[in-house]
């Protein structure tokens, strides 16, 4: 768990079932008939959230891993994170 107190924490939907497919990941949520396929940056975000963390920590971690400045990475990652949250694949809780 991220140590940053008071900031919302992002986590994978715990009830999701997953399978690796090449460089992507298939995710099946409860009550859904068809799995969702994540690839590219979405897979990197999903993998990085094997343990819950704040957006800030997630961006810093990905920025270090891919050698990209944090502000550039945030620009690219934020819409993907929001999309994953909207689709119920990620949860963000205080």
């Amino acid at each position: 768990m991220d140590a940053t107190v008071g900031h919302p924490v992002l986590s994978q939907q715990q009830a999701a079932l997953t399978r690796r497919v090449g460089s992507g990941v298939l995710i099946l949520l409860p009550l859904c008939d068809d799995p969702v396929l994540l690839d590219g940056g979405a897979t990197a975000i999903w993998d990085a959230l094997q343990r819950p963390k704040t957006r800030q920590t997630l961006i810093t971690e990905l920025s270090t891993r891919y050698g990209t400045p944090a502000d550039e990475l945030a620009l690219a990652a934020e819409p993907v994170i929001s999309d994953l949250c909207e689709r119920g694949l990620l949860r963000e809780q205080s």
Binding site: Q14, A15, A16, L17, T18, R19, R20, V21, G22, L26, L28, P30, D33, D34, P35, L37
Partner: protein, 373 residues
């Protein structure tokens, strides 16, 4: 790897693909992309075996050359195979919760268990149904639960009570096409009736996590022996998948070899264990030895072993003949009488589903049993 020339028949190619990452295999894959006349049947068979992950790994690791079109086709097939496995796991989570809520003990076996517990990555091994082992005395409760959850039974039992006393399994399918085999034992016929179910249940469960659920599976010894029964007594000719599972378990698994042979001996199934291992090692041209491969090579099949194996090892192994050959394995005079009565007086629903009448059913079973000595 060294030794044999690259595989050129589809059967050999399938075997070479599924063991490309195992130590000690001398099977070779060709260094150039396969022509359509070999590629198409290879992909079709690998898909049927639900081992698309193995083919994709061979392509990704450069063990098998593929064109971009072939890679794309393979990725699509693999996504379908894995999607099916995920849907079945979703069903498994639901069933597991229902069984737990009703105090029904369940152990997952075969595909779902092996994929999650024995392979280095669930993507390597797909599956097309769920195999759930329940205790004999809980078979009926489990069947009622499945029905209450929208599953319909594929084929009726010969008689009331047959499933829980003598049956191998009953198959249920839901509206989405999810298939569940509810097992009491591993196979029908004499080998199924010889399994010591109390010993099987005495082994602590292995478990794996699906989402928020922890699923209990057969322990390593039970899982390995079940795999051998499927490899030898299941489909004929044998399927590749159970043999690949067995190779994985023997090379990397945690089943205690002494316990495996001890159980097999106690169940009268040493021939099943030895045959499964020998055919797997020869079929995959594996050279590395393990304690169990050494044991299997030394085991001598008896006349009785050959007779029993022959009952199963034909493409049309019939229900009635297998059942009649099981009589001597049913312990106790009363139980044996009940078994014979159930088989000789199957209910009308059972006969209807087999397109048979009682005299025709009996005659066919007797003829086949007699023809095998």
């Amino acid at each position: 790897m060294s030794g044999t020339a690259p595989s050129t028949s589809v059967g050999e190619l399938v075997r070479a693909v599924v063991v490309h990452d195992l130590p000690g295999s001398t099977l070779q894959l060709p260094s150039t992309a396969l022509p359509p006349r070999l590629w198409s049947p290879l992909v079709a068979q690998i898909t049927r075996e639900r081992l698309t992950g193995q083919l994709l790994a061979a392509a990704n690791q450069g063990a098998l050359a593929v064109t971009s079109h072939q890679r794309e086709q393979l990725q699509t097939r693999h996504r379908r195979t894995m999607s099916q496995a995920l849907r079945l796991e979703q069903t498994l989570v639901t069933l597991d919760a229902a069984f737990r809520a009703n105090d029904v003990d369940v152990r997952v076996s075969k595909g779902a268990a092996v994929s999650n517990l024995d392979y280095d990555g669930t993507w390597r091994r797909g599956f097309g149904d769920l195999d759930l082992l329940v205790r004999s005395e809980q078979v009926e409760t489990a069947q009622h639960l499945l029905t209450s959850l929208g599953f319909a039974r594929d084929e009726p039992a010969p008689r009331v009570d047959f499933d829980k006393r003598f049956g191998k399994s009953s198959t249920f399918i839901d509206k989405r096409g999810a298939e569940v085999d509810l097992h009491r034992t591993f196979v029908m016929g004499p080998y199924g009736l010889s399994v010591d179910l109390s010993q099987l249940w005495s082994e602590p469960a292995d478990s794996f996590v699906l989402g928020e659920a922890r699923i209990d599976a057969l322990g390593p010894v039970g899982r390995l022996l079940h795999t051998c029964y499927v490899a030898v007594l299941g489909d004929f000719p044998p399927r590749i998948t159970p043999q690949r599972d067995l190779a994985e378990m023997l090379l990397y698994g945690k089943a205690n070899p002494d316990q495996v042979t001890s159980w097999a001996q106690h169940w009268g199934a040493e021939a099943v264990l030895a045959t499964a291992i020998r055919e797997t090692w020869r079929g995959f041209a594996l050279t590395d030895e393990t304690a169990l491969t050494v044991w299997a090579e030394r085991y001598q099949l008896t006349h009785e072993d050959r007779r029993l194996l022959a009952l199963y090892r034909r493409p049309d192994a019939p229900y009635a003949a297998l059942a009649l050959s099981s009589v001597s394995k049913v312990k106790g005079v009363r139980r044996r009488a009940a078994f014979i009565y159930a088989l000789s007086n199957p209910g009308p629903e059972f006969l209807d589903r087999r397109g048979s009448t009682l005299p025709r059913y009996l005659l066919r079973g007797a003829k086949r049993a007699l023809s095998r000595g």
